[in-house]
Amino acid sequence: MRAQLNRRIDEALGHGMTPELLVMRMNTAFMKADITERLESLQDVESLSDVAVAVAMKRLSHKSYDRSPDLDPAADLAARRAS
């Protein structure tokens, strides 16, 4: 799971998402799940508990990470043309 999380983090970084944003996203997930652990940097992922890793993984695998850049590009374009 930990390796998977690290892979997911690298994928996000590879697309230009910054470490501070990823750290913050994971911390919000911990907050919402009432986990007291917090990350200071990506290095700290190694010392997370298994529960926290699972929560972080869930957050970073949120289905919307798979969405296209616009919510609905075709509709968006159509709307822009109409206006």
Partner: protein
């Protein structure tokens, strides 16, 4: 008999584009190198240890080094690069101190002075909008005008050798510095200074008018002057014997000049606005919002000093009202502007040297005295009422930060250290030989060898950035262009931008800023070393303050897919390594309120899979279909090299834009995430303290990010998104909206720009968008493949998801097609 291929290395090729026609000294050095090479070739039949041949080889090496160093130390306008100003000035001052000893106490204005002039050309932004090279053309012209006027002004005083009287430097992006090396009459110096200033719209001497041809106003030129004599007379007595006098005097001299220049710039900008408002209100608003606002905002809102103004003067309307209120008492209006401008720059001095009140006072007094003499006005420091920053969190541990070594952190620093050691050894040998009474011939040989070692070190210094040892901008282009010669190679440019450098520099102090830069460079070097293998070669460059770049060249044996994959990995590794390198601890000169902070990095990448892709992009965006006037489209070497240069430039430009796009999106996402955190905390009992802390953090983020998130538009949009978060959406649900928002803002800015090559700029914008979409499509494809490759059970469960993904993939592709067709229409 066919000519024997020479084993003698070639004369150094001057590759930098020379914009300035008159480069007599360079031609002389080139002739020297050529003749030394010819002598060496003639002696190449002699045995290798023949003294004549050895001498010829050393002569050639030395001549070639001189030529190369000249090329590296001069910028394309022909002026000396700014890096040398400090050392040259220090040398001049220390010679003067040594010769004259104690300066004579102030006995009124001396008749002979050694002037240093700073000449600034305003509105470079506006010129660059005319065409990308126009600003440089104007600067080149200015360099020529300055030399001509200085030489004309010297007249008989120069005794026929005006060139030996002064040196011309590029002082910063849009200023030149003339350093006189001889004393000249004070009134002559003042008349030269006067002849060099010109308001906007005035012709620059005779000859064809560069600006009239393009139908634009000439930019304003401002010249300021300070003399070595006045600087030395102002030197505190305690410093004279400390051995640090030159360093101090150089700093003071620069501070005085730049401070006066800053005030001049403010006044010149106000004048320009005054004229613009009188001529055409719409154009004036445009000029203010696009070019002048960033430097005028806050200048006229002061809280201390006489006539403190408490109404903000920020927007165009406020600025116009302010001018109107001034003009009601027109007799004093101009003096008031001068006083305000000087008040502001004197206040800035204090901000810059917060820890050194004595020094600030001294420079302030010095400037005030000069202004009193020159303009008969009394000036006094004023401070801006821009609100102080939010409360900073207590210092935090530095997260495993390890201090980088100044001799070892990068390849370039290692080279510096190695060459310094070599030079030391040479000097020892020479001294030993002298002590042992070696032959005159041997001594002379050792002397030349020492000189060559010294020149090699200087060449290395000139070709690299001093703080990080990284290569500069020119080699980046050379590498890209040379890689583009081979169409089978894969070529990428990586643009990197260090965030919050100002924070390290200003709050943390200069040394902390330098440490942050060095640490970043060390990290980049590690990533470079890690990725420079298996058919991929990476180079690393510092392009300016907080901007860095990498070139990545892949062999054709590396598949396009693997190349892209490794670029992604490289980006991930850069971001991860920089963030985990530890926080930059405070160094000497740090102000209260500095706390150890991570380096943050923005990255943008653009690449050509191979020559076909480059050609394709070339065709699509008409990058090279319009060569400059006078260049034939004939596939000649000159034309080919121009084309490679344009392609390289395009690569860099798109990567920069991608970086900008990423930076804005990331910053907005970060703030939205913080808002989500705050909303989450609000629902928890007894979390007041945590809530206060997080809200403070958000305020800070906003304070440092205003520009990145497009000001009030971004802030308003964040409020809208906050509502959606409260309604139950997650920040990720808004990612798509954020991208659209950023894209639209970038598009708006683009629409406002008045570029001659709008078509090309438009294509850069599209390339960014397409690059982004391609990235998303890739990602979706990868997900799809992953989904397809999983077990049957999973397949079944994910079938619907796959369909949804395919749908999204399809619509992204449609979007891409749509954009292509819009682009087609635009091109038509």
């Amino acid at each position: 008999m066919p000519p024997r291929e020479s084993e003698v290395p070639a004369v150094y090729q001057v590759e930098g584009r020379r914009l300035r026609p008159s480069m007599a000294q360079e031609s002389l050095l080139k002739r020297n190198a050529e003749s030394a090479r010819a002598t060496l070739e003639r002696s190449s039949d002699l045995p290798e240890d023949n003294p004549e041949r050895m001498k010829a080889a050393m002569d050639f090496e030395e001549a070639n080094l001189d030529l190369e160093t000249f090329d590296l130390t001069h910028d394309p306008t022909g002026a000396l690069k700014r890096e040398t100003i400090g050392t040259d000035l220090a040398e001049q001052l220390s010679e003067r101190i040594a010769v004259e000893g104690e300066p004579v106490p102030d006995v009124g204005a001396p008749e002979l002075i050694t002037p240093i002039l700073l000449v600034n050309m305003g509105e470079l932004d506006r010129l660059n909008k005319v065409s990308p090279d126009f600003g440089n053309e104007a600067l080149t012209r200015l360099a020529d005008v300055i030399s001509r006027k200085a030489e004309e002004g010297l007249g008989e005083v120069a005794q026929g050798k005006p060139k030996t009287f002064y040196k011309l430097y590029r002082a910063d992006n849009n200023s030149f510095m003339i350093r006189f090396t001889e004393k000249i009459p004070a009134d002559l110096a003042r008349s030269i200074q006067k002849s060099l200033s010109a308001p906007a719209g005035e012709r620059w001497g005779d000859g064809e008018d560069l600006f009239e041809d393009k139908g634009v106003d000439s930019p304003p030129v401002i010249a300021d002057m300070v003399s070595i004599e006045e600087t030395l007379a102002d030197l505190p007595p305690s410093l004279r014997t400390s051995g640090k006098a030159e360093t101090y005097a150089v700093g003071a001299l620069k501070d005085v000049l730049f401070t006066m220049q800053d005030a001049q710039k403010i006044v010149s900008r106000v004048d320009r606005m005054r004229h613009a408002i009188a001529a055409d209100e719409n154009k004036a608003r445009d000029l203010y919002d696009k070019f002048l606002k960033k430097s005028l905002v806050g200048v006229f809102t002061m809280e201390t000093g006489p006539q403190a103004i408490h109404t903000p003067v920020e927007t165009y309307e406020q600025f116009k009202d302010y001018l109107k209120s001034l003009d009601q008492q027109s007799a004093h209006a101009q003096a008031e502007i001068w006083e305000t401008a000087y008040g502001k720059v004197l206040g800035d001095l204090r901000l810059r040297y917060e820890g050194d009140a004595k020094y600030v006072k001294r420079i302030q007094n010095f400037v005030a005295e000069k202004v009193k003499e020159d303009r008969a006005i009394s000036i006094e420091e004023r401070r801006s009422s821009v609100p102080p920053g939010a409360e900073l969190p207590p210092d935090v541990p530095n997260g495993g930060f390890e201090e980088p070594s100044r001799d070892d952190a990068t390849e370039g620093l290692r080279a510096f250290a190695g060459l310094r050691t070599e030079l030391g050894l040479m000097q020892d040998n020479l001294e030993k030989a002298r002590a042992q009474g070696a032959s005159e011939q041997e001594i002379s040989r050792l002397e030349q060898a020492t000189r060559i070692a010294e020149k090699t070190l200087n060449r290395e210094y000139a070709s690299r950035d001093a703080t990080t040892g990284l290569e500069l901008r020119r080699p980046l282009f050379e590498r890209l262009e040379s890689a583009l010669k081979d169409p089978s190679k894969r070529v990428a440019n990586v643009s990197m931008d260090m965030g919050f450098l100002k924070y390290f520099d200003v709050v943390g102090g200069r040394e902390t800023g330098d440490l942050a830069i060095l640490k970043a460079a060390e990290t980049f070097q590690q990533v470079r070393d890690e990725f420079s293998k298996d058919g991929m070669e990476v180079s690393l460059h510092r392009l300016g303050g907080d901007e860095f770049g990498m070139t990545v060249v892949g062999e054709s044996t590396l598949s396009a897919k693997a190349f892209k994959r490794r670029l992604r990995d490289l980006q991930a590794e850069l971001l991860r390594k920089v963030e985990t390198a530890g926080r930059i601890p405070a160094k000497r000169g740090a102000k209260q309120g500095y706390y150890a902070t991570d380096i943050s990095l923005g990255v943008g990448i653009h690449f050509y899979e191979d020559g076909a892709a480059a050609l394709n992009e070339d065709k699509k965006y008409e990058l090279t279909t319009k060569p400059p006037e006078g260049m034939a489209v004939d596939e000649s070497p000159a034309h080919e090299s121009w084309r490679r240069n344009k392609r390289a430039e395009h690569l860099v430009k798109v990567a920069d834009k991608v970086m900008e796009f990423q930076k804005a999106s990331n910053r907005l996402k970060l703030m939205l995430e913080k808002i989500d955190q705050i909303e989450t905390i609000k629902q928890k009992p007894h979390a007041d303290e945590e809530l206060r802390r997080e809200e403070e953090h958000l305020k800070q983020l906003l304070r440092f990010s205003d520009k990145a998130i497009f000001g009030s538009k971004g802030r308003a949009q964040l409020d809208v998104w906050r509502e959606r978060l409260i309604a139950g959406e997650s920040p990720e649900d808004l990612d798509g909206d954020i991208h659209s928002f950023v894209w639209e803002r970038m598009d708006e800015t683009f629409q406002q720009e008045q570029s001659e090559r709008k078509d090309l700029e438009r294509h850069v914008e599209y390339a960014v968008r397409i690059e982004y979409l391609n990235g998303r499509i890739d990602e979706l494809q990868a997900k799809l493949e992953e989904a397809l490759g999983s077990t049957d059970a999973l397949k079944e469960r994910r079938e619907r998801e796959q369909q949804a993904l395919r749908g999204k993939l399809k619509s992204a592709e449609e979007d891409l097609e749509e954009l292509k067709s819009i682009r087609g229409q635009l091109a038509a």
